[in-house]
Symmetry: C2
Subunit: 298 residues, 2 copies
């Protein structure tokens, strides 16, 4: 009997324990980071907005000129089965499509057979609930996010070295996480999260060069529904520093307060009321059958 309790993966058309989930070292998904992916989550036994994640994933596969034999319904079943096998009530669920391997000697991506992988592991937090009570200390990195003229950010991708090096810069400067910028110094995004600033009843989030995150979309929907004006436009670092509140959004943690930027506190330095209201409503949506469905664990 295989032990899936640390997570379950779908690799080579089979379900395997996460520790056995491996990819060929020659797959261009690794050697050229020629891949797209998406991450959905399960919370208290319910999948959240899974179809929206699958939509974005399928669109990314298409934009990269890839194709896989699995239809949307197959993807859905495989992801659900990964969670069921793991038994995890709170899970981080990733789906991946890689270019695959070329024929020996070939350098032509059209000659590769694209490959699908998936896995469910215990839920991962960018900031756990304890940390979220205090809020995160964000560093504005000197590094620029890879621009949309190079890599289409609408295709969720693994090109993260800018953000990884931004993280090391943040640690050096006493911070906990980083946001990378555009050529004008506007904030773009951090490692796995989008960013928002609240001023009076207006909420601003960067529009250009960012991943169109599902949690970002959820936050925009909740805020708009509750009477806030949400502006998708450039967000200058100084506008974030002088905002009433700043927060990050991610599948890996939801809506997370940022209470310090570059060593200076935002406003009073504690998570703000707008952020807390959106947080509460975000987690409440996890009970809403319009956004969720139950995983039918055996």
């Amino acid at each position: 009997m295989l032990d899936f309790s640390n997570g379950a993966a779908y690799v080579n058309e089979q379900f395997v324990p996460i520790a056995e989930a491996k990819i060929s070292i020659l797959d261009w998904g690794f050697l050229h980071s020629d891949a797209t992916y998406d991450v959905a989550h399960v919370w208290k036994g319910k999948f959240f907005r899974l179809d929206d994640h699958i939509d974005r994933f399928v669109s990314g596969i298409d934009k990269l000129h890839m194709s896989i034999r699995h239809k949307r319904g197959d993807l859905r079943s495989i992801l659900i089965d990964c969670v069921k096998k793991s038994g995890l009530q709170d899970a981080y669920v990733e789906m991946i499509c890689t270019r695959g391997m070329p024929k020996p000697g070939s350098r032509d991506p059209r000659e590769c057979t694209n490959r699908f992988f998936a896995f469910a592991i215990p839920f991962v937090w960018i900031a756990n609930p304890e940390k979220q009570k205090k809020g995160l200390h964000l560093i504005v990195s000197r590094l620029q996010r890879i621009p949309p003229e190079s890599v289409d950010p609408a295709v969720k991708n693994y090109h993260w070295l800018d953000m990884v090096m931004g993280l090391f810069e943040a640690y050096d400067r006493g911070g906990e996480t980083a946001v990378v910028v555009d050529v004008q110094g506007n904030l773009i995004e951090g490692p796995g999260f989008n960013i928002f600033a609240v001023k009076d009843r207006t909420i601003t989030t960067p529009a250009r060069g960012v991943l169109e995150g599902i949690t970002r979309r959820t936050a925009i929907e909740i805020a708009t529904d509750h009477g806030y004006e949400v502006i998708q436009h450039n967000l200058a670092a100084d506008d974030a520093r002088t905002a009433d509140e700043v927060f990050a959004t991610s599948t890996a943690g939801g809506i997370m307060p940022i209470t310090k930027i570059d060593g200076r506190t935002i406003s009073s330095g504690i998570p703000g009321s707008v952020t807390q209201e959106l947080q509460k409503r975000y987690w409440r949506l996890h009970e809403d059958p319009h956004y969720t469905f139950n995983v039918d664990y055996d």
Copy 2:
């Protein structure tokens, strides 16, 4: 008895046939393309400039704040052993360092154990000798190379989606390969190669935002030694189009003539005399003990 004839890899401190060389799906080398690598080659049983490749690789590991327990001499031995085990006389030899896996639940790259991988497979050509007689048809992509403000190109990395999408653009437009540009439209580099243009006795190659390729360096050294002026500076697409000769350099093929850009022939449309002279001298260096050493096959 293991069969290494298709290639040999070093994974988890063991030598395995290339078909068994796998990396965990959770390694951030894959999931964040958080890795650096280098590729050396063996030609007619001799390694070419291996120490220069190891120098660059070790420097990249350091710049990414990674460390591995293998010393330079260990790396050298492992790479040589991959080639010996494979028995390949002409080989493409890759060394890789990945961030590795985080502790469960962690998002902190400092908590990962970095990992070293290596493999030797049959020599791979961007353009094989037959193709090189005719020359390549290059397309100037509309995509921009990931800029140095985002990712340091001196750290050889797998952030290739710009170049992969450039290749698809090239195929659509009737070409064989692509070069991506900078924000001003200057040529930068292609998938795995640097680019050079020859005008009279002056040779220009881009300086900023490019990988400092070992074959690029070799071409510069050969050309300088033989009386050409080599300028490392911006190379506008139109300057390449109106050059006497254009060529690409890569470990995967050496010095390779480009005879057509965007459907128009360069000069007379056949590989030029300067390119051919440099090619000849490049391959002659593969006999020179200053640049090579024999692999001691069993």
